[in-house]
Amino acid sequence: MRRLFVYLLVLMPSLAMAAEPRVDARNFPGPAWSPYLVGAGIGVLSWMTFYFADKAIGASSFYATVAGALGRLFARRHTDSLDYYKENPPKLGWETVLVLATIAGAFIAAATGGEFTGRWLPPFWVARFGPDSLVLHGVVGFLGGILMAFGARFAGGCTSGHGISGALQLNLGSWISVVCFFIGGIAVAIPLYLL
């Protein structure tokens, strides 16, 4: 954990040096459909998953399952000895299939709407950090992923599991978590993109 913070300390000045002046997200493509329609659709989808599958929508444990499956490939005994995997053995279950199908569903939506991109750098990132910042983007994204996974597992869910499924069940911990997701996100995003 301490090593992570040291990396971040080195990273921040290099980010600041690479940065262009402040950017506005509204100058970039918006949603294809009304967000209200899409949100209502996800709400109805959650009725379906509760009723037909007796499950809630969630995404973050997919990554833990992949990590566990890879871990078992290289260090089977050690992986099986970890508390998390004793309670949540990595298997091809609800959330794994759901997230894999999410990739396919988004592909269908993008392909039918003419929005498939096929690129490594988002234009919004380029507007801030320039076109030659692929390595920086990769390193920042990778470190962000580590932090995010750790936070999701510690808090017990992500923007799907807590932010949508937990919040719509009025789960107290989910509301605390989702407010903190956005506080943490805003606190890091604003210096990164606007200062």
Binding site: W94, G105, E115, L121, T159, L172, C180
Partner: protein, 197 residues
């Protein structure tokens, strides 16, 4: 309090099986396809929309989430009351929810995608989601390494168990859900009125 949902028959869960029952896999497949399709159509697979939300410039994500919560709540609570669905509550642990939430948020700002929307972004051809997804896998294993230590300690600090907002203030669940949905709808109207996007 009697929990009406407990009357619902539990799915044929066999925790030891390496693969879930085919029916459940099929539902997961259909639900995932719809979820990914909707996320992409809502713009939640786009880097600028997700980061734009964290910069308070683009409110698309909040609008999607609030709409989903309102509609979801107004279906799940009556269904639960009628003993048609189980609730899937997660334990409320204020320390873990707050610290984990803030760390998650910091990671969200760095990646630009969250675990579900990264999958949708990949489907849309935003290959850079793979950086974050790789980090998510590594971070998950990192957490699992520490899980024995965390589980017995910090994660349980202030554990309140599986409780909901109405339980916490001791009011009945269904009326609270209806009132809260109305309140969130007012928030949504305000967002629509005062935000550009």
């Amino acid at each position: 309090m009697i929990d009406p949902g407990s009357a619902v028959k539990k799915g044929s869960a066999k925790p030891e099986a390496a693969v879930a029952p085919p029916a459940k896999i099929f539902f997961a497949l259909v639900a995932g396809l719809i979820f990914g399709f909707l996320l992409q159509k809502g713009g939640a697979a786009k880097f600028n929309i997700l980061i734009g939300q964290l910069l308070l410039q683009d409110w698309t994500v909040a609008k999607i989430m609030l709409s989903a919560i309102i509609v979801g709540m107004l279906g799940i609570y009556p269904l639960h009351r009628a003993a048609k669905v189980n609730l899937h509550l997660k334990p409320t642990r204020p320390f873990a929810n707050i610290v984990g939430g803030l760390v998650f948020g910091a990671g969200f700002a760095l990646i630009g995608y969250c675990p579900g929307t990264a999958a949708a972004a990949l489907g849309q051809g935003n290959w850079d989601a793979l950086f974050g997804m790789t980090g998510l896998v590594v971070g998950s294993y990192f957490y699992a390494e520490m899980s024995g230590w965390l589980k017995g300690g910090a994660q349980k600090w202030g554990d309140l168990g599986k409780i909901t907002l109405p339980d916490a203030i001791k009011v009945p669940r269904l009326p609270f859900a209806i009132g809260f949905a109305l309140f969130l709808a007012v928030c949504l109207f305000a967002l629509e009125k005062f935000t550009v996007r």
